[in-house]
Point group: C2
Chain length 226, copies 2
């Protein structure tokens, strides 16, 4: 499976661009090592691919400095992101997938689906705007509405907030655990207490008291209640 109708980018290329898009959004420019980490690929392999992508005009590369998507590269990244998130939505809404298992499936299907399929899926479930983890879905035209969100681990104690989004690129078991705690998009949450030195935090989640460690808390993105 290498070619897809229309625009023939390979699956690895789409994966790189998607990863770079997300790193860039968080850090401004994507470092080789971050790309390597995220894709679980050795750094030299990343150097090689980066060269190829730069040759194709999908990104700009400043030696030893990092990487930045071109408009074309960003377009493809957003298209892939849309595919991924529409698929995630469809799997949960139409096929009853649990939210902790949609990621891996979407990760493969996003490279094999035609635009028509994605559009039909989106239509079938009513043109969703966020995926099951709360991530916004780019439009067909490649527009995305990225809200600046605080992580739960940086939320001030006693401030009311609600969960907007949960990171979905970690492993499924964490997601399942977060769901058990009620930490899913839409939940109302408040930090009641917090141990020092990046210690565990005590939360109120929709009324129930919960205890959560810093690495899990970092996965949960919230918006302060207005």
């Amino acid at each position: 499976m290498t070619a897809r109708p229309g625009e023939g980018y390979t699956a690895p290329v789409e994966d790189y661009l998607k990863a770079i898009y997300e790193i860039e959004r968080a850090s401004g420019a994507a470092a080789n090592s971050e790309i390597a980490d995220r894709l679980a690929i050795a750094p030299p392999s990343v150097s090689g691919m980066v060269r190829r992508l730069a040759d194709q005009g999908l990104l700009e590369h400043e030696r030893y400095r990092g990487v930045r998507l071109t408009n074309e590269g960003r377009r493809i990244a957003l298209r892939t992101l849309r595919r991924h998130r529409v698929i995630e939505c469809y799997l949960t809404r139409a096929l009853g997938y649990p939210w902790d298992r949609v990621h891996d499936e979407a990760e493969r299907l996003e490279h094999a689906s035609s635009d028509e399929l994605i559009d039909r899926m989106a239509t079938a479930i009513g043109e969703p705007t966020v995926d099951p983890h709360g991530a916004p879905i780019p439009t067909r035209e490649g527009l995305i509405e990225e809200r600046a969100l605080a992580s739960l681990s940086e939320l001030e104690p006693l401030t009311m907030a609600h969960v907007v989004r949960v990171s979905d690129d970690d492993d499924a078991s964490r997601l399942r655990y977060l769901a058990e705690l009620g930490l899913v998009p839409g939940a109302r949450v408040m930090v009641t207490d917090r141990a020092p030195f990046d210690g565990p935090m005590v939360l109120r989640v929709d009324g129930a008291e919960r205890l959560v460690g810093p690495n899990l808390a970092a996965m949960v993105l919230v918006e302060r209640a207005g």
Copy 2:
């Protein structure tokens, strides 16, 4: 996209095995040139792949003689065939795809779908037993019910029959035309007249008179009415 959870065969490998399965079913053993034709790949490439597949125990190869699937090879071929046909069904029944466009989409998705996804799709549309073109769907356990069917081009004049299946690996425009003629699975058909030297045939399709050439007629598989 190279690996899938569970059993990691590549997309090309699955394509070869599927093609070989189908050729074998029609001709007993699969010749190199037939495989090459069907996959639109140069014959030497087929020789190379055949060697690899034989090394992996997926088929047996008698030099200059052709190829035969092992049980393991057949198992994978049937699994892929099941994927393909379940996907075709799902796309038509759940997403409103027209029957002439499901083949290409399924051809890509079959390599990217997990067993769970295929099962959920099959369940969602009521465990179908044939795909939109009338081809039987192997069960989860790899059993398939292949009926011996006559082609419309070999049907004796004035014999009542019904269309059971239509070949789907040709191009979409032919399929669309067949549908216009009413030559879809389930249709009642009779040859009323036939020009000699492999000429066009006159048909009655569900009461209407139709004219059809030999290459199209060969795509239509029928069963004589009992």
